[in-house]
C-alpha cells in the first residue's frame, strides 16, 4: 500500500511537516527567548546573552527544587516499576481470577482528573494526621505512574514466549533463578523504558505535588511560583530550555532502548 509518491502522499507529507511545525514552534520559543537580552518577551529579539542561565544556576531555591524533583522522580520510578513488574508478571503469566477487573482498577488513575486524585489523597492524609512532605508526593506520583509501568511492562511480557520461563524451570532452575537468568534479561528493555517514562511523568507532574508537597517544593511547583514575577521569567525560560534538552536526550535513549527491544522481539517471533 506504499503509494507515497501519489498526490495524496505529497499532501499528507506537507500536512505532517505543517503539524510538526505546530508542535515545535511554540516550544522552541523557550530556548529562543532564554538567550534574549531583555526581560520582555517581545519581537524583535534584543540581543544574545547567557546571563539568564547564570542567574538561574545561582538560584539556590531553584537548585533545591531541582534536587527534590530528581529525588521524587527517581524513587517514584523505582517504586512504580517494581509494582508494575509484579503486576505485569501476574497478569500476563498466571490465570488470575478477575484479572481483567484488577487491571481495569490499576488503570483507573488515568481516568480520574489529577485534581481529584490530589485533593482526595490530601483529605486522607489530613484525616490520618500525616504531615505533608516529599514522601506524600512520592505516594501520589506512584499512584499515577503505576498504570504507565504496568502498560509498558505488560506489552514487554506479552512480547516473549511464556515457554521460555517454563523451559528454564524444566531445565532445573527454581522460580528466583529463572527470574534472574531469563525473565529479567528479556524484560530489561521494558524495565528501562518503564523507569524512564515514570521518572519523566513524576518529574513533570505539578497538580498532585502542589497539593501534597507541604513546604518542600518540587521543580514544577517552584516554576509555578516564578511565573507570577515578570522579571524572573527569562531565568525560568532558561530552565525550561535545559529541561527540554535533558528530556530530549532521555526520550531518544528511551526510544532507542525500546526499539532495540522490539527488534529482539521480532527476531524471536520471526524465527
Amino acid at each position: 500500500m506504499r503509494t507515497g509518491a501519489g498526490r495524496g502522499g505529497v499532501g499528507l507529507l506537507a500536512y505532517a511537516i505543517f503539524y510538526l511545525g505546530f508542535l515545535y514552534v511554540p516550544v522552541l520559543f523557550l530556548p529562543l527567548f532564554s538567550f534574549n537580552d531583555s526581560v520582555f518577551i517581545t519581537f524583535p529579539i534584543a540581543g544574545f546573552t547567557t546571563q539568564w542561565y547564570r542567574q538561574m544556576l545561582e538560584d539556590s531555591a531553584m537548585l533545591r527544587a531541582l534536587a527534590n524533583s530528581l529525588e521524587v522522580g527517581a524513587i517514584t520510578a523505582v517504586l512504580s516499576t517494581i509494582l508494575g513488574l509484579l503486576a505485569a508478571k501476574a497478569l500476563t503469566r498466571y490465570r488470575v481470577p478477575g484479572g481483567n477487573a484488577l487491571l481495569a482498577f490499576t488503570s483507573l488513575p488515568l481516568f480520574i482528573p489529577d485534581i481529584v486524585l490530589g485533593i482526595s489523597i490530601l483529605i486522607l492524609l489530613n484525616t490520618l494526621g500525616v504531615p505533608l512532605s516529599l514522601i506524600t508526593v512520592i505516594a501520589g506520583h506512584s499512584l499515577i505512574c503505576v498504570p504507565f509501568a504496568i502498560t509498558v511492562l505488560m506489552s514487554r511480557f506479552d512480547g516473549f514466549d511464556k515457554s521460555l520461563e517454563e523451559a528454564s524451570l524444566d531445565l532445573g532452575e527454581n522460580g528466583w533463578m529463572t527470574f534472574w537468568r531469563v525473565t529479567y534479561p528479556l524484560a530489561l528493555p521494558g524495565i528501562i523504558s518503564s523507569l524512564l517514562l515514570t521518572f519523566i511523568v513524576s518529574f513533570d507532574e505539578f497538580l498532585i505535588a502542589y497539593f501534597l508537597a507541604g513546604s518542600d517544593a518540587t521543580l514544577p511547583i517552584y516554576i509555578w511560583g516564578q511565573l507570577r514575577f515578570p522579571y524572573k521569567l527569562p531565568a525560568v525560560l532558561a530552565l525550561g530550555a535545559l529541561i527540554l534538552v535533558a528530556s530530549t536526550i532521555l526520550v531518544v535513549i528511551a526510544e532507542w532502548v525500546r526499539s532495540h527491544g522490539m527488534k529482539d522481539r521480532h527476531k524471536m517471533v520471526g524465527a
Partner: protein, 303 residues
C-alpha cells in the same frame, strides 16, 4: 480441593504451601498484592473519604459530620457552578474533537506512508516530554498583550495596537490544550492503524473498493479503538485541567478544577470542594460512557 485434602495429611502450613504451588490464581494474586494494596491505600480509600466529605458541612473551622446533600445542592444547583460544568465539558469536548481530527492524518501518515517511522515517532513525542507547565506557559508568551504575536505583528507594522482578544478567553484555552495534548491523540491512533493487516486493504481493493471507500470501510472502522482511546485519554484530564485555565483562561476561561482548587485553598470549604470533585468525576464519566457508546454504535453501522 478434595484431592489436596486427602493427599496431603500435614498441617495447615503444608496444605497452604501445597495449594499455593498448585494454584496459578493464588500465585498470581500474591504477586498482585503489593500493587493492589498501594492502589487501595492511594486511590480507593482517598476516593471513599472524598465521597464521605461531600456529604458533610464546613461551618467556619468546624466540620459538621451530619450527612446532608446540601453541598450537592449548592454545587449543582447554583448557576455559576452549573455554568462551569457546562463550560469545562464543552471546552474539553472541542479540544478533544480538534486534537483527534488534527492528529488522525498525522498518525495515518506515520503508519502508512512514512519511510522512517522511528524518526517520526521520536520527533512527535519529544515536545511532550518538556514540562507541561512550560508548554502551556509558552502560549501565554505567544498570545499575551506584549507577546510574540502582538509584538511580531507590530514590528511588521501590520497592527499598531496590541490585540487584546488573543489571551484570557476560552479559545486560548482550547488552542493551548489542543497543542499540549497532541501526542496523546497521535500515539493511540497510530498504534491501532499500525495493527491493521495490510492484506485486508488489498482484499478490499481486490473486491472493487477504491482508495476512499477502502479508507471508510476498512481503515477507519479498524482504527476506531485508537480514536476512542485517544478521545477518552484527552477528554478526561483536560476537563479537570487546572494549569491551562489558570494561565491563559482569564475570568472567561475558568474551569471546574479552578473552583475545586479554591475550595481547598483560599475558601477552605472542603466539603463543597469534595462535592464538586465527585460531581465532576460523575460528569466526566457519564459524558465518556455516552461518547464511547455513540462511537461504537456509529462504527457498527459501517458495512
Amino acid at each position: 480441593m478434595t484431592t489436596a485434602d486427602t493427599t496431603i495429611g500435614g498441617g495447615l502450613t503444608a496444605r497452604l504451601a501445597h495449594f499455593y504451588r498448585r494454584s496459578e490464581g493464588a500465585r498470581g494474586l500474591v504477586l498482585l498484592t503489593p500493587t493492589m494494596l498501594i492502589m487501595l491505600a492511594a486511590l480507593a480509600a482517598p476516593l471513599a473519604l472524598l465521597a464521605l466529605y461531600s456529604f458533610w458541612t464546613q461551618d467556619g473551622y468546624v466540620l459538621d459530620k451530619t450527612p446532608t446533600l446540601a453541598q450537592y445542592a449548592t454545587g449543582i444547583g447554583r448557576a455559576t457552578y452549573r455554568e462551569l460544568f457546562y463550560r469545562s465539558v464543552e471546552i474539553s469536548a472541542v479540544v478533544t474533537l480538534i486534537t483527534v481530527l488534527l492528529a488522525y492524518p498525522m498518525a495515518y501518515f506515520v503508519a502508512f506512508r512514512a519511510e522512517k517511522k522511528f524518526i517520526w515517532l521520536i520527533l512527535l513525542t519529544i515536545p511532550f516530554w518538556t514540562s507541561y507547565l512550560l508548554r502551556v506557559f509558552t502560549w501565554k508568551l505567544i498570545l499575551g498583550y506584549n507577546g510574540v504575536i502582538n509584538s511580531g505583528l507590530m514590528s511588521l507594522g501590520i497592527i499598531h495596537q496590541p490585540l487584546e482578544l488573543l489571551l484570557y478567553n476560552p479559545t486560548a484555552v482550547v488552542v493551548t490544550l489542543a497543542h499540549a495534548w497532541a501526542a496523546f491523540a497521535i500515539l493511540p491512533i497510530y498504534v491501532s492503524l499500525e495493527k491493521i493487516d495490510r492484506s485486508l486493504l488489498e482484499a478490499a481493493a481486490d473486491l472493487g473498493d477504491g482508495p476512499i471507500r477502502r479508507f471508510f470501510r476498512i481503515t477507519l472502522p479498524l482504527s476506531m479503538p485508537g480514536v476512542i482511546g485517544a478521545a477518552v485519554l484527552i477528554f478526561v484530564p483536560t476537563t479537570g485541567d487546572y494549569i491551562t485555565p489558570s494561565l491563559v483562561g482569564g475570568s472567561g476561561g475558568v474551569m471546574i478544577a479552578n473552583v475545586i482548587e479554591e475550595q481547598f485553598d483560599k475558601v477552605g470549604n472542603w466539603p463543597l470542594g469534595a462535592a464538586l470533585a465527585i460531581a465532576s468525576i460523575a460528569a466526566v464519566g457519564i459524558v465518556t460512557l455516552l461518547f464511547v457508546a455513540a462511537m461504537r454504535a456509529a462504527a457498527a453501522r459501517i458495512r
